[in-house]
């Protein structure tokens, strides 16, 4: 190991950063037409804009940085991914449109899929010709995901799927969905589940958008009524889908740990500008003693988000297992996001209540309410910290 705690990058690493920065400056469309995150973006024009952007990234070798080259990925090291993602977040570049395909399905097929499945799907994930959705949550299985009820039965050479998925991100644009299905109803809860790929364009699959509290419909419900998919669309072994699903979740780790730290640091600067430019009591809102202290809290926390991320990343960069701080990231940033947007609304006063194009804070404020729910609610995150990091006895779940 090196001389001391060292938060600098080597000259080769800095050179790569320069290369990425230069490319983004030259290629990022001047007008960002993306609405926001996948979770809220239901605008077809925004969608096509982000599809084009994904293809451009792919042509430059900056897409799927973590995929091996043989599958069309960037074949980059974790250090390079981290640097790329940091610059990407700094540039406020829009997310590639096929995020679930790139981050979840692709890596899962590389780990658990067959060679035929890789050949069939990976290229179209990269080109965004097939958009992927995640069929995990159900009306009665969210935090308790293993309680899922959607069934798949093997009939001849096909699985026949019946059931319902919900909160399905990107559903309005989806072409394919990876579905967790119960394939052995007699087995204990975590067993008897299979991970199956299914074409969404068929009579047995019906998609209904769900209007969110933001007014947009970034997710939807997906109904399966005797939907059919060939038996070779099974990923991993029959009834071993829980293990496959858990490795899929692991792929959300690693490379983008710094992304949220950078994104929210930018938001903090905007929040500060807002406070400086908003009149309050004959001066600026930033001079209001109460608001100023609240701004100070958010500033301090967003700095710590950065330092926590660097700590969480350190063992990974050196090929070691993550420490306890890695499990805190999602809880910390999502709760920061809620508090920061709440503060923006307080600073804005009645201006914040008007839903107009120029008031991006209102959408952020509403959107923040999803962040403490998706990919594991804050309550589930605290359970994980208590049980898996602190080693407290498992509570009321089994």
């Amino acid at each position: 190991m090196g001389g001391a705690v060292d938060l600098t990058w080597s000259s080769e690493e800095e050179a790569f950063r320069e290369e990425v920065r230069g490319w983004l400056e030259a290629n990022l469309p001047k007008e960002n037409k993306a609405l926001g995150e996948d979770e809220f973006d239901d605008d077809p024009a925004s969608f096509e804009f982000r599809r084009d952007w994904q293809r451009k990234l792919g042509e430059a070798g900056y897409l799927a940085m973590h995929w091996p080259k043989e599958y069309g990925g960037g074949g980059r090291t974790l250090v390079e991914q981290v640097i790329f993602n940091e610059e990407y977040a700094k540039a406020n570049a829009p997310q590639p449109v096929n995020s679930l395909g790139l981050n979840l399905v692709g890596p899962t097929l590389m780990t658990h899929g067959t060679e035929e499945q890789r050949k069939r799907f990976l290229k179209n994930i990269l080109t965004a010709d097939e958009i992927w959705c995640q069929g995990y949550s159900e009306p009665n299985a969210g935090s308790d995901l293993a309680g899922l009820q959607t069934k798949a039965e093997l009939v001849g050479d096909e699985f026949v799927i019946n059931g319902q998925k919900i909160w399905t991100t990107l559903a309005p644009f989806g072409d394919w969905i990876f579905v967790l299905c119960r394939t052995d109803p007699e087995a204990p809860k975590h067993q008897g589940i299979s991970y199956i790929l299914c074409d969404m364009h068929q009579p047995g699959v019906e998609m209904r958008p769900i209007k969110q509290m933001t007014g947009t419909s970034g997710f939807g419900e997906v109904f399966f009524t005797n939907a059919r998919t060939p038996k070779d669309m099974l990923v991993g072994n029959l009834n071993d889908g829980w293990r496959v699903a858990m490795t899929t979740l692991m792929f959300e780790r690693g490379g983008n740990i710094l992304g949220s730290a950078v994104r929210f640091r930018r938001m903090m600067s905007q929040l500060r500008e807002l406070a400086e430019n908003t009149k309050r009591n004959g001066g600026s809102a930033i001079d209001d003693p109460v608001l100023r202290q609240e701004l100070g809290r958010r500033l301090v926390e967003v700095e710590i988000l950065r330092r926590n991320s660097e700590r969480a990343m350190s063992p990974l960069l050196h090929g070691e297992s993550p420490g306890p701080e890695s499990s805190m990231g999602k809880l910390f940033w999502s709760e920061w996001y809620v508090k920061a947007t709440e503060l923006a609304m307080e600073i804005l006063g009645t201006d914040g209540l008007v839903n107009k194009q120029s008031n991006a804070w209102l959408l952020e404020y509403l959107a923040a309410r999803a962040s403490t729910i998706y990919t594991g609610t804050s309550e589930i995150q605290r359970n994980i910290l208590a049980e898996r990091v602190l080693g407290l006895p498992r509570g009321g779940r089994n």
């Binding site: 100023r292 202290q293 301090v300 660097e310 990343m313 910390f332 605290r382 080693g391």
Partner: protein, 337 residues
Amino acid sequence: MDFRLNSDQQALQSAAKDFLRKEVTSTVVRAAFDSPDGDSPELHKKMAELGWLGIAVPESLGGLGMTVIEQAVVCEQLGYVNAPGPYFATACLAIPTLVAFKAEDLLAPLLDGSKRATTAINLDAVPDAQIADAVAHIAGGKVTWYEKDALEITPKPAVDGTRRFASVRITGEGRELGSSEELEFARTPGPARTVDVLAALLCAEMVGCMQWALDATVQYVKDREAFGRPIGVFQAVQHKAADMLVHTESSRSAAYYAAYAAANGLEDGRFAASVAKAYCSDAVHSVTGESIQLHGGIGFTWEHDAHMYFKRATTNRILLGDASFHRDRALELDPAR
């Protein structure tokens, strides 16, 4: 890029841990807590023999020549055992003050443990002046060194029996060390000054304090049963414990970044110190307070150690600027402004 301690630092951490957990038992802390002056002279001598008074003091001035990071490593372990005595006042207040003015002759007796000292910002409440042989006093833009015989020192009854305060009246002549700039929290961005280093070290001690409170609480809620089960199965308890963990680990990130920025003279050193002190001051109060809460009735007793950590937390969150002071300063120093 690596935010972990290197192997030498880890070795120091483990040596400090072994030494302190053996030497500074609850009995030792309580003896100081209940003593007339809060002193623990034997412990102080042993730490001097280990060279711990001068961890970050340059070798040319008689120290070990390591960095603020190594000193933070030791301070964290001192916080974990709630070490009593004049170490903090001497090694984390007076010695860095003397180093800032390169007062080699005054340093020598402090480094070998034969004398102890403290630094006074407010003469009405000087940390551990009642067990100090000398006081560095900051006033009127200058720092002046006073030996005990030039002072009238009156101990005060303090909330933390192991970190006390005395009022100091100057009755004799002192030795002027220089401009007090190093001991004032600058309101313009730049590399850490001495006072920012002091704040970073205090934060490291608070991290150790939080880690003890967390460890003790986790053990207790695993062992204590109610309704036929360990209370650690209940989510109301689990979620408090999880928040204690988040506060402790986040404080650790902030404290060690402040130490790193100071050790390397980074431009955001002052900012990093205020970020750390603002966060740790609130976190240490919350974590040691929740520790009492989760221990229930036993946590409120004199017999249990939880109250001593809560009282140390109560003291440390105020020393060297409280959270609201440092939040305000962080906003002024924000490098992304």
